[in-house]
């Protein structure tokens, strides 16, 4: 057991904290939202300058050589600031797919460009009818044109509208929900037959519906072994769950501190509302939920690199349930303790609330993961 950060890790955390404190206030964020992609290209450049876009990549790929803990530190700060940029989509999801599934040549071609900030990725896996079932893939990949031809549609692809390259899953063989027979393909956003319709999610981050009509993919753009990509997809999703856990902790911290501050300054009946025991206890309960959620986000982080797939999946599910329930409680209470102002678009707390809501519904909600755990009860 060891909860200490190394010096390098502390430096990393400090530098992100400082960047976000200087540049990512709630007003600045409103301006970022109005930019064409719905996030800040200028901030993206700063992330690149600080090395954040290469945090989990090897040094030979222009990365920081970090692991899940380093990603956690970055995501926690992005969560605190409610950052809009495609960090999860590009570095965590797309990056992990290439890092774990790609050949040496693919990694060398893609990861340095991601780290530099010149290439944005998206993980185009989910489909409309799949809900949270990771093996439910109906998009097809068939041999043709001396490579592969993809047909189908992908749904709620995070930052799929602004990505330069998409990591697309497609079925090569097998039944609709067979884990075996799924491949991952690198597809340029401008590829013929690929169409994207971008939109805003509830939390103001961007996503896209992606349709693929006879999209040709060369053999060199298949990630890993064609048809055996499912374990990589699981790892990508697990890594995403861990990263979102850290982001949720950051968001909960901000909601907690905003609510605490509000309870000290908002006066009713001639005294701060925080002098009422009922409010004090609610804030204590938020604190407890936050700390339990933090513990679970840590569990997800340390589990990502666990070599035992069953143990890893179990801990990731536990973590998703735990931090999801914490985030739901903290965010609901944050609005309740603020009263009417918490309900408004102009005030920040509701925006954090909506980010927590989106996180909870990504890669399996509480009910999904709880059911998965329940199936394993012995």
């Amino acid at each position: 057991m060891d909860f200490d950060l190394s010096d390098d890790q502390r430096l990393l955390a400090d530098s992100v904290t400082r960047l976000m404190a200087d540049r990512y206030g709630f007003e600045a964020r409103k301006a970022f939202l109005k930019q064409p992609d719905g996030w800040s290209t200028e901030m993206w450049g700063r992330y690149a300058e600080l090395g954040l876009l290469g945090v989990p990549f090897a040094e030979e790929h222009g990365g920081f050589g970090g692991g899940a803990v380093e990603v956690m530190l970055v995501m926690q700060e992005l969560g605190r600031a409610l950052a809009l940029e495609p960090y999860l989509a590009t570095v965590v999801l797309g990056g992990t797919a290439v890092r774990l599934g790609g050949s040496a040549a693919q990694q060398a071609a893609i990861l340095p460009a991601v780290a530099e900030g010149t290439l944005k990725l998206a993980f185009a896996h989910g489909e409309r009818d799949a809900r949270y079932d990771l093996s439910d893939v109906q998009t097809t990949a068939k041999r043709g044109n001396g490579g592969w031809v993809l047909d189908g549609a992908k749904s709620v692809v995070f930052h799929g509208d602004s990505a330069d390259k998409l990591v697309v899953s497609a079925r090569i063989k097998g039944a609709r929900d067979d884990p075996d027979g799924i491949g991952l393909f690198l597809v340029d956003a401008g590829a013929q037959g690929l169409a994207r319709r971008g939109y805003t999610l509830r939390d103001e981050t961007r996503a896209a519906e992606v349709s693929l009509t006879h999209v040709a993919v060369a053999d060199g753009d298949v990630l890993g072994e064609a048809g055996a990509a499912f374990p990589v997809i699981e790892r990508v999703v697990e890594t995403g769950i861990a990263a979102m856990g850290a982001e949720a902790v950051g968001a909960m911290e901000t909601m907690q501190s905003m609510t605490l501050e509000y309870s000290r300054t908002r006066e009713q009946f001639g005294k701060p509302i925080g002098s009422n025991q009922v409010v004090q206890h609610r804030l204590s309960e938020m604190l407890m939920a936050l700390e339990q959620g933090r513990s679970m986000a840590m569990l997800a982080t340390v589990s990502v690199e666990d070599a035992d797939p069953a143990e890893r999946a179990r801990n990731i599910s536990m973590a998703k349930v735990g931090y999801g329930q914490s985030a739901r409680f903290v965010s609901q209470q944050a609005i309740q303790m603020h009263g009417g102002i918490g309900m408004t678009e102009e005030y920040a707390v509701g925006h954090y609330f909506r980010r927590a809501m989106v996180i909870e519904h990504t890669f399996g909600d509480t009910a999904f993961h709880l059911a998965r755990l329940a199936a394993q009860v012995e």
Binding site: G274, Q277, Q280, H281, L283, Q292, S295, V302, M318, L370
Partner: protein
């Protein structure tokens, strides 16, 4: 960052498990497994076995018989011992009085009481709460009047767990009723339960059992050398005692044990034509509790690990999180075990069961105890500072409200 135990800690856990497996007397093990509270003789027998091994005085320095364990090792031992399930070390002796004597006691007091406390030659109880002083402990009224080399104690204490088993009691008394602050007129006395003028009256709790008592003091003479620390400075001692060593406060091992008991029952009973353990709703409850146990376990690691690095000796206010979440969890696990018992949770029939059949009906016995545990552990969110008081502590000490 690493949440796993080190190989050394894993080896230690295995050593503890093996020792408990090989040394816990079979009859005690069987009763504990069925969910019974350990009897007085069970608690004494097990603590003496542990003391012979050098493990009883778990948080004491080596010179007073402590095992020299780290905070993590103590946490592992407590959890394994609860989960076994084995009788817990008598907390009055080990986590309350012992550290107080080591911190505040005179050499004579230490020599006289510490070895006997470790070996449970003396059974201690805690005389803190009074009818008019529950959560507001500093309003206590039991008075000690100085007469020569004695104090004369008058008043009453309540909720005194195991006073009916106890040889000695550490008692908070008011020695200066005129102090400027209520906290400044309190002293900490050690009282021999055989002293004339002490009456112990049982309080039967809602589980039908006798854990609690009222203790009356009627002109009870206590020698001055039985006072710990200075006169009127007993509040310092009480604060130290209440803040000291909260490693076991989450009672995770007990929660683990209750979930295991619930699962065992659920394998034996049927629900909708199948074993209850196969019912999705039941499994979902188990899964939720397992998630909650995991979260609490990691939070406990964090508190213990931070505590091991702190040097100011003050309790981590986050241990209030462990108390609240731990007791909520424990209560949920007792609900699960009781619900698994189904209609067998209703009867009080241990005597009749024994007479009705030749073979012991373990399912029925365990069910009866599952209900008993559920009933008695409603106290978990009340004792040791109610969960509402813990939230007050968090509000003040952490949130600064």
């Amino acid at each position: 960052m690493d949440l796993r135990f080190t190989p050394e800690e894993l080896a230690f856990r295995d050593e503890v498990r093996a020792f408990i497996r090989d040394n816990l007397p079979a009859d005690i093990r069987e009763r504990m497994r069925l969910g019974y509270s350990p009897r007085k003789q069970d608690v004494i027998a097990w603590q003496r076995i542990l003391n012979r091994k050098g493990w009883a005085a778990l948080s004491w320095p080596k010179e007073w018989g402590g095992p020299g364990w780290s905070a993590v090792q103590r946490m592992i031992f407590i959890e394994e011992n609860q989960a076994a399930p084995a009788p817990e070390l008598l907390s009055f002796n080990i986590t309350m009085l012992g550290p107080v004597l080591i911190q505040f006691g005179t050499e004579e007091q230490k020599r006289r009481f510490l070895p006997r406390a470790a070996n449970l030659d003396d059974w201690w109880c805690q005389g803190f709460s009074e009818p008019g002083a529950g959560s507001d402990l500093a309003s206590l009224k039991t008075a000690a009047r100085r007469e020569g080399d004695h104090y004369v104690v008058n008043g009453s204490k309540i909720w005194t767990s195991t006073a009916h088993n106890a040889d000695w009691c550490f008692v908070l008394v008011r020695t200066n009723p005129n102090a400027a602050k209520r906290q400044e007129g309190i002293s900490f006395l050690l009282v021999d339960m055989k002293t004339p003028g002490i009456t112990v009256r049982p309080i039967i709790s809602i589980d039908g059992a006798h854990h609690l008592n009222e203790v009356f003091f009627d002109d009870v003479k206590v020698p001055v050398e039985m006072r710990i620390h200075e006169e009127n400075r007993g509040w310092d001692v009480a604060k130290f005692l209440l803040g000291n060593e909260r490693t076991g406060i989450a009672r995770l091992g007990k929660s683990r044990e209750r979930v295991a008991a619930a699962k065992e029952a659920a394998r034996a009973v049927r629900f909708n034509g199948k074993p209850l353990i196969e019912d999705p709703t039941f499994r979902q409850r188990v899964a939720q509790l397992e998630v909650d146990m995991k979260a609490l376990q990691i939070t406990q690691y964090r508190v213990v690990s931070a505590g091991a690095k702190k040097s100011d000796g003050r309790p981590d206010p986050l241990s209030s999180v462990l108390k609240v979440k731990g007791t909520e969890l424990l209560q949920s696990t007792t609900e699960l075990a009781m619900d698994a018992a189904g209609p067998l949770a209703m009867p009080i029939w241990a005597q009749e069961l024994a007479e009705m059949a030749n073979e012991p009906d373990m399912l029925a016995e365990a069910a009866e105890q599952a209900a008993g545990n559920y009933l008695f552990l409603r106290a978990a969110s009340i004792y040791g500072g109610t969960n509402e008081i813990q939230k007050n502590i968090l509000s003040k000490a952490v949130l600064r409200l």
